[in-house]
Symmetry: C2
């Protein structure tokens, strides 16, 4: 029943080409806008240069890291070289490198276009909100299209060339390695700069947020780009590849059972990308003039198109199944619902943000306590949503035959991630318009223009909460299917070793329980290390800012330029230095548990890691967003407005929330994926060498 | 091989009688100290009266709650009455009521003695530190002895009279119901009063901590007693009964397999109590004059005596096994190790507390971020400790025969809880000397006396961190064995219904996974509800304090008495009102998951609940203790000392930590036990009536 596979390989390449061509068109469209204001041109240039500095450093360190991993893979994976041929190991290494390189290219170009779009968006805001929206959105959409295009291209090429889904896990691991650097490293970078700029600028010197005298101000703007464009893009590239790879691992194990499962994965991925292309092409601020509605409605349009197109494909191809279509649709719908509930907890037109703002009037301790409490509560609907969609997908696909139930869950993840092109576009829009707002102010573009930029920026913040909830939900379903992929890998290794197969992971087994307990602690320790890393790095940058103000004559009066580059250097090198121990801790814990307790313990480890990781990621992202918007709500005049005690308390809440929502919370996704892939890749080693 | 069982019933009653007689002796010994200072006598009287008010109210509400549960049990448990005889249901109801009543009596007498000892400790401090230590410690030991005596008496009596270990779960559920009220209700009470007293007294009015003009000051002192004496006592009564009950449920299922398992559970419990009696009787401040060392060394003495006595018993009785002795010893040792690592994160002579104090110099956001991060990291050693002890106990006992592995884990929990009499004594010592310190100041007892009281108080704080870590670890192992008990119950119900038995709970099964996800979210939501409850209740009390200062003439000048009783009323009624929704949420979620997904989902639910509950409980208890001690460290002169910016930040950290460490964190234990017992009790209903 795999007669259509070569058709779908071809279509995958064609669709990726369409996405790239459309991205090129958008790039040229954005580029033809001219930047006339010299000041904006200068500062936008500094931001661009800073972002490139970070990316260059990141990729340089990543290259060393990847070289070490490539060597390890070459020797050990998929089988130790002394146990068989070296050919699959070479394929695995090449796939691993391809995974890092494709993600890196998407990130690099995405940053290029984003830093090209910010100044242009600011200037377009002088014409109208509609124009400016389009520049900002299309600038972000380049990243969205590149990420999904590269993902589809890479997955199809690796599978077509090797025919081996295990090699695909190597590709996916490459994507994850990069995501770990881009998301967690970018997260530390952005918050280092943000916190240091606020501490010295607003608190010590009493100068406004985007004041060009502050040496950290450019680093802060760079941070938005490296965190939200490159970081979020790499994170979703990683999720997207992992979802496809794990679905394909399971699909391959089901081949010959009457359904064209592999083709189905490709077909749905292709249709997801096409739907995103249509959604992006039609996105416009309508007559209502509301950019938030424009972003949300193009997401809904993409969702609807995907559901219709996949239904048509399912009806058309004989090897496709309606049950699997149902699983994938449930995944997508639950993703949208998680986004909406996230919005409930973080939108200032809803009661929760207002309650936290009100609690701030009693002092910062109450800001923290109430935000923490609502953050914990906010995790519940998403946890239930993920649980129900997994249960539903499983039960729906169980009647097809043995093994199809877990394939249903994998397809729910593929469904949820189908509209990821649209999601990344929305997310990358955020830092572009945020930068544009700063540039409009620094370039002195006038009140009306700044008001328009403000409105665009505020839409970016609102939509960000939704996309974050979505990306965590997607990671949740993806890692469940990675757990299925892990079991496939373990059983392949056990079968090869002539040992009895694993039927499942029983929580009453002490080796499984052992893994669960440690797996659950890892995301907590990982996020703690990142938070402490931001803290330490911010202290370094504060010292540098003090040095500049003390040694550069005329800086305080605005007569001399600060050395922006020094701050960018500190943020970049510190971010990567702080990130590595956290990443290694997660990987080494996985290996320690695997070599102590064997595959059973790793099954437990992954489960504990997924469950506590999702809980903490949801808690941190949502409470951070909640504090941010509470502060903005107070600044808009509630509870005494700017300068009140409530405002001071709300600012403290926001500072606590910054590394929660932009560093630790979203990096947990990547940590989970990295750990899952390490486990699947090392499955045969755990089978061969564990103590228990 | 159960020839010795009637011997051990007899010895259980005898040992309980010894414990009660010793407690009576200590009570009379404390009582013969005279209180001469009229002011101390008066204030101590107010504290006593306030504590009684809370206990009375709590027990009144609990009586209603228990009546509802008793009615439900009568109709439904262990089997719905329409399916069989009503006799076991009546036994179950009586056991349930006995569980609540015995715990209530222990709590009531414990509070009585604690509130009798505080003033006497203050006055003894005029003689010497050695004398004062002994009064404080022996006052607390009454609670320790009563709790363990009542637990042993109750478990032995219920099992001897009914011969049915399922009825024992009813007794355990009674203990848990009370613990939920005492621990979570007491936790809300104590933090309501603490936070409100600080907010109005220290912050608004600028009067010192224990100033008698503050209407909340008595409520604050009452809170220490209801939280740490009654609450902690009920919590450990609950854990102790649950550990014994689950070990006995499993032991009964192993009867006839060659070992005298039931006798072994009783024998170890008896020897644990005797060891605690010896440890308590010999506790004294030695030549070094250090009360912390006195408390810790009597814990180590108790541990050593227990290990020796149980070794002798294991050698002597032919139906006992060295492997099980090993499991129980590992449990105890891991408990001690968890206590020591907790100490590392919360002791101000160690680096962590100092780092958080140093971070406070950069502002409150850094106090919160660093405390949160170290709190998360601190959970790791305890999680690993629990995981390893469970793995070790299992592997050690697996060779004995089928079913013995899980019995090993249950005996590790029994071993860890064997020295609980000593632990509770140390814990109840805390509020007594804390109160004594306040009374010494209010009674004007002179500098040297206050210095001695301070030293005693500081020892109480240090030891508290250790006992908290210990109690969380004990709860962790207990609930794992409760999971085993749950499976026994499910299989009994399945066998009765003629359905295939459950072999385990596979995490790859979507019904199990569904349960895990929701179970993991419940402790987060439960603790969030308690934190919000403290917040709301503190707001009410602040309003009352404002009212008193505005309407009572002369209060501000110290010429009129405040209405202390009003504040106690608000704390008490508010605490119970805020607690009930949180408790019901946990119970209703359990029932919802059980009736949707059946026993499989509940297995997952319990696992998710245990793992995320332990993680959050450790995080909250430790970060709270860390902030508390960082504040004290700054107050002792570090980072600028009292009044500095670092101090203000550290106070904010402490206020956030208060409900973490004294309300939400320790209540999670109880939530886990309640949920586990509800599951075991309702197992047959889930088997009969679930959707999936």
């Amino acid at each position: 029943m795999e007669e259509n596979l070569s058709l779908f390989y071809g279509l995958s390449f064609l669709t990726a080409a369409i996405a790239f061509a459309f991205a090129l068109y958008l790039y040229l469209w954005v580029k033809k806008e001219k930047v006339q204001n010299a000041r904006i041109d200068e500062i936008a240039g500094l931001i661009k240069e800073g972002a490139n500095t970070f990316i260059r450093r990141e990729y340089r360190i990543l290259a060393k890291f990847a070289a070490v991993f490539a060597a390890i893979i070459l020797i050990l994976l998929p089988e130790p070289i002394w146990q068989g041929s070296i050919v699959p190991n070479i394929s695995m290494v090449l796939a691993y490198i391809a995974g890092t390189v494709l993600s890196a290219i998407a990130g690099k170009i995405g940053i290029l276009v984003a830093t090209l779009s910010n100044g242009r968006t600011a200037e377009s805001a002088e014409k109208s909100l509609k124009d400016a929206f389009l520049v900002g959105f299309r600038g972000g959409a380049v990243m969205g299209l590149l990420v999904v295009g590269c993902s589809l291209l890479g997955v199809a090429a690796v599978l077509m060339l090797t025919g081996d889904t295990t090699i695909l896990l190597g590709f996916s691991f490459g994507a994850s390695s990069l995501a770990l650097f881009a998301k967690a490293g970018g997260g530390i970078f952005t918050k280092t700069a943000d916190v240091a700029a606020d501490l010295t600028g607003k608190v010590e010197l009493g100068i406004p947020e985007d004041d060009p005298r502050n040496p950290a101000v450019i680093a802060d703007n760079v941070g938005d780009n490296v965190g939200d464009v490159a970081g979020m893009g790499a994170d979703l590239f990683d999720s997207n590849v992992a979802a496809a790879a794990s679905a394909l691992v399971i699909a391959q194990s089901l081949s010959g059972q009457g359904l064209d499962t592999i083709s189905m994965v490709f077909c749905y991925s292709i249709l997801g990308l096409l739907s995103s292309v249509i959604g992006i092409a039609t996105a416009r601020v309508g007559g209502h003039g509301n950019p938030t509605r424009a972003l949300n409605s193009s997401t809904y349009v993409t969702t609807a198109i995907f559901l219709v197109l996949t239904a048509i494909a399912t009806a058309f191809f004989p090897g496709f199944s309606w049950r699997i279509w149902g699983a994938s649709s449930v995944g997508l719908l639950v993703g949208v619902i998680i986004g909406i509930t996230t919005d409930y907890f973080t939108d200032d037109t809803r009661p929760i943000v207002r309650k936290v703002a009100h609690a701030s009037a009693s002092g910062p301790a109450f800001t923290i306590l109430s935000g923490t409490a609502y953050g914990f509560i906010s995790a519940l609907p998403a946890m239930i949503g993920i649980a129900i969609s997994a249960l539903f997908a499983y039960k729906l696909c169980e009647p097809i035959g043995p093994g199809f139930a877990i394939f249903g869950i994998a397809m729910a993840a593929v469904g949820m991630l189908s509209i990821v092109g649209m999601i990344i576009s929305n997310d990358a829009y955020g830092p572009i318009v945020d930068n544009a707002r700063g540039l409009a102010e620094m370039g002195g573009l006038g009140e009306e223009t700044i008001r328009i930029a403000d409105e665009l920026d505020s839409a970016g913040n609102t939509v960000k909460a939704v996309t974050k909830g979505f990306s965590i939900g997607a990671a949740g379903l993806t890692v469940i299917s990675l757990l299925g992929a892990f079991m496939s890998e373990v059983n392949a290794a056990l079968a090869a070793a002539g040992k009895p197969l694993v039927e499942g992971f029983d929580i009453m087994s002490p080796t499984v329980f052992f893994g669960i307990m440690i797996g659950a602690a890892v995301p907590a320790v990982f996020s703690a290390m990142l938070i402490l890393g931001v803290d330490r790095n911010a202290q370094r940058m504060v010292a540098e800012i003090h040095r500049q103000f003390n040694t550069i004559a005329g800086l305080r009066e605005g007569k001399a330029q600060p050395e922006y580059g020094k701050c960018i250097d500190i943020a970049a090198s510190g971010a990567l230095r702080e990130l590595i121990p956290a990443g290694l801790m997660a990987i080494l814990m996985t290996l320690a548990v695997g070599f102590i307790g064997g595959p059973e313990s790793i099954g437990g480890f992954l489960l504990g890691n997924i469950v506590s990781g999702l809980l903490l990621a949801l808690f941190m992202s949502n409470s951070g967003g909640l504090w941010d918007n509470s502060k903005k709500y107070v600044e808009a005049g509630a509870e005494g407005g700017k300068g009140s005690e409530a405002h001071k308390a709300a600012v403290i809440g926001d500072t606590v929330g910054d590394p929660y929502k932009d560093t630790a919370g979203p990096s947990i996704n990547t940590q989970i994926t990295v750990v899952s892939l390490v486990s699947s890749l090392a499955a045969s080693l755990f089978v061969a060498f564990s103590i228990f």
